[in-house]
């Protein structure tokens, strides 16, 4: 006896009221037929809801990230479902896992290949501080080679924690001044890492 097929035969009534979340409007002045706000608000709004992550996954945190990107936790809800493994198109480098000292230059190379503006998230104890691997062969935190914006604690962090980290990144991206990347302060930061 064949299994009765129930899907896609009887049309379901659509029920999307209250189920589609929209991004709130930025602060501004509104009147009849116009809306005025700051350019940086609009740019930030667009950027923060379409972050393209570059997963740099080396160990167990990478497995948690796969769960984060899959259907149950769904990174796509934050507009970040477009993962890419080419750094040149990406905005956010997510370093997940132990980075050995020999891998350090590779992380830096990937960071250098990303175009500005770029953000970095260190996921898990190893990427943030070396974690339990307090040993001669492991880099004691990726902030020794690249500047890091958000650290996610955990060993490994739950997918909720990674999502929280992504939301913190979104806050940073949304509020960033358009001049920040040209500022002296930012240049000094890059110089301290020996970048350009």
């Amino acid at each position: 006896m064949s299994r009765p097929v129930q899907f896609n035969i009887t049309p379901k009534p659509t029920d999307h009221k209250g189920h589609i979340s929209m991004v709130g409007m930025p602060e501004g002045h509104m009147g009849e037929g116009f809306f005025a706000t700051k350019l940086s608000e609009v740019v930030g709004l667009a950027r923060k809801n379409s972050i393209w992550p570059l997963p740099f996954a080396t160990s167990c945190c990478g497995i948690e990230f796969m769960a984060t990107a899959a259907a149950h936790y769904d990174l796509g809800r934050f507009g970040s479902e477009r993962m890419a493994f080419t750094p040149r198109q990406c905005d956010l480098m997510m370093v997940m896992g132990t980075i050995s000292k020999k891998m350090g230059p590779v992380v830096k190379q990937v960071y250098l290949q990303m175009a500005e503006p770029r953000w970095v998230m260190a996921v898990g104890a190893c990427a943030s501080s070396g974690g339990i691997f307090d040993t001669y062969s492991v880099l004691q935190g990726i902030d020794q080679v690249v500047p890091v914006d958000v650290y996610v604690p955990g060993c490994p962090p739950r997918p909720e924690a990674i999502l929280d980290g992504l939301m913190r990144i979104q806050d940073l991206v949304g509020q960033e001044s358009l001049r920040r990347r040209n500022s002296e302060h930012y240049q000094k930061l890059l110089d301290s890492y020996g970048i350009q």
């Binding site: 000292k101 020999k102 070396g130 307090d134 040993t135 001669y136 062969s137 492991v138 004691q140 020794q144």
Partner: protein, 172 residues
């Protein structure tokens, strides 16, 4: 009749006499030593001899014994006779100030990788190795991390309380 440890030992003593010594059988595996200048001769004999036929180098590594003056570094060869399925362990000891041991790459091609690794971690200088440079650690590393005078922990880390985390222990 398969090859027994006794037969191997007798064959070696027959050939090298007093030059092979310290025979023991920890967990049934024949283990012996030779002077480091003779390591290639012994390995070649173990390889060529028609009854011994140890033609597979399973593993090669070093051990550091910091208190054993004059013979601090042991280079250990693990050999396998694939025909009779017998394994033996062969050690040579060297002074840490002149850690020169002849390379086994001419005899076993697999020694190439393992000798580089042993050099990388213990600083054993394998004389005659075609490409003796670091293989697993970063090229910039300026010490041999598995020697016991060097602490295991990363010295660039400053956020840990040494008393709480047991860092910086001594070798004794």
């Amino acid at each position: 009749m398969s090859l027994t440890n006794e037969q191997i030992q007798n064959r070696l003593i027959e050939k090298f006499g007093e030059q092979v010594y310290a025979f023991s059988e920890p967990y049934g595996m024949l283990t012996f030593e030779a002077p480091k200048d003779l390591n290639l001769k012994v390995l070649q004999f173990l390889f060529d001899d028609e009854t011994l036929r140890f033609r597979f180098l399973t593993d090669l590594q070093a051990v550091h014994y910091p208190t054993d003056k004059g013979r601090e570094l042991a280079v250990v060869y693990h050999l396998h006779n694939l025909v009779d399925n017998v394994r033996i362990r062969f050690k040579v000891f060297t002074d840490i100030n002149t850690p020169d041991v002849f390379t086994a790459t001419q005899l076993y091609a697999t020694a190439n990788w393992m000798e580089r690794e042993t050099y990388d971690f213990f600083g054993v200088n394998f004389v005659g190795h075609p490409n003796l440079k670091r293989i697993l650690n970063v090229d910039e590393m300026d010490y041999f991390p598995m020697r016991k005078e060097f602490p295991l922990e990363d010295q660039t880390r400053i956020d840990k309380d040494d008393e709480m985390f047991g860092r910086g222990g001594s070798i004794n």
